[in-house]
């Protein structure tokens, strides 16, 4: 017997309806991209709402945005970009067949994802303390921010610019919590997917011929990173130039 089973039947991960591993991989990547298009449309609706209400209430959006913590927002942007890099490296190490480095990269990516969520939780809690969570469902902390008067620099109070009102600021926070909340939900799902990858990676399931799951979950992870690349300037930075003017 000269030929191994692998040479006769193909790779053990090859499904019967594909000709070979390359075709299977390309089909998987293409399918993931189609899913990501639906995700782009899903977030697109919220970006549309944002654009519409920001153009209607520019002063309120700038005032509300200035209350967000720019340091934590920038830190989280860096954390996500770093996690995208380590995810890309995890794909690379799988492609060249270095399992140990692959596992390390996946662990770092997962830890960075959890760091992002931790920082986000801290930001949400700050908004809870300042009574900026919209609506009446938060017990004892329903939406009722304190408005700062002229010359008051208390960072916990709302500093209204121009003709902005507290009600219009609430609209910004609806959009802020909807968009960052959906983004955070995607991060949580991403962390779950990474845990799954890590388990199979430790079992040595992936190799240079078969690494579609790493590649495809990587695509998802980078997509979530891209959403944040847009959310950061649009939510955190839009009114900063008016602050000291």
């Amino acid at each position: 017997m000269d030929a191994t089973t692998e040479e006769i039947h193909g790779h053990r991960a090859l499904q019967h309806h594909f000709e070979n591993m390359e075709q299977q991989r390309e089909a998987g990547t293409l399918g993931m991209w189609v899913f990501l298009v639906t995700e782009i449309m899903f977030f697109g609706g919220m970006f549309l709402a944002y654009t519409l209400y920001r153009s209607t209430y520019p002063a309120a959006f700038a005032s509300a945005s200035n209350h967000l913590d720019i340091t934590l927002g920038a830190l989280n942007t860096g954390v996500l970009i770093f996690s995208s890099f380590t995810m890309a490296m995890a794909v690379y190490f799988t492609q060249v067949g270095k399992q140990r480095s692959q596992v390390i990269c996946l662990v770092i990516t997962l830890l960075l994802g959890l760091t992002f969520l931790g920082v986000k939780a801290k930001e949400y809690h700050d908004k809870y303390e300042d009574r900026l969570i919209p609506g009446y469902l938060i017990p004892g902390r329903s939406y009722k921010p304190e408005v700062a008067q002229e010359g008051d620099h208390d960072p916990h109070k709302l500093h209204l610019l121009g003709n902005a009102t507290v009600r219009q600021v609430e609209l910004f926070y609806w959009i802020y919590f909807a968009m960052t909340g959906m983004h955070a939900l995607h991060m949580i799902i991403g962390a779950g997917l990474l845990t799954f990858l890590l388990i199979f990676s430790l079992k040595g399931r992936f190799d240079p011929e078969y690494h579609s799951p790493v590649e495809v979950i990587g695509l998802y992870w980078h997509f979530v990173d891209i959403v944040w690349i847009f959310l950061f300037p649009l939510l955190y930075l839009l009114g900063r130039h008016l602050e000291h003017g």
């Binding site: 390359e22 991989r25 390309e26 990547t29 293409l30 991209w33 189609v34 990501l36 298009v37 782009i40 449309m41 697109g44 609706g45 549309l48 654009t51 519409l52 720019i70 920038a74 942007t77 860096g78 970009i81 770093f82 995208s84 890099f85 995810m87 890309a88 490296m89 690379y92 492609q95 060249v96 240079p208 011929e209 590649e215 990587g218 695509l219 980078h222 997509f223 990173d225 891209i226 690349i229 847009f230 950061f232 300037p233 649009l234 930075l237 839009l238 900063r240 130039h241 008016l242 003017g245």
Partner: protein, 99 residues
């Protein structure tokens, strides 16, 4: 294996470009540019960063034509979403219909 493996050097370069882009967008946000220029600068940097992620981290630059078509279709449908919605909102005051 016929698949293109992106070299580590490129991943590191993109990572650094993204960090520089983030620093730039924060710096630019505190400058008071005339008119809507602040928003235009912020969006230009964000689009540039996203393009780098899509082309290199997501390997689209090395992917088949079919993947390019799928990615382009996402942008096309986003354009429809925005164009049709704003063709309504931006033109509402053009005619006075006597309300």
């Amino acid at each position: 294996m016929s698949e293109h493996i992106v070299p580590v050097r490129i991943y590191v370069t993109i990572f650094l470009v993204l960090l520089v882009g983030t620093a730039l967008t924060v710096l630019a946000a505190f400058q008071d540019f005339p008119g809507p220029l602040n928003t235009i600068v912020a969006l230009t940097i964000a689009v540039t960063k996203a393009t780098f992620v899509v082309l290199y981290f997501m390997h689209v630059r090395y992917s088949s034509r079919l993947v390019w078509v799928i990615v382009a279709s996402a942008l096309f449908w986003m354009a429809i979403l925005f164009a049709l919605t704003f063709s309504d909102y931006w033109t509402r005051n053009w005619l006075s219909v006597g309300y």
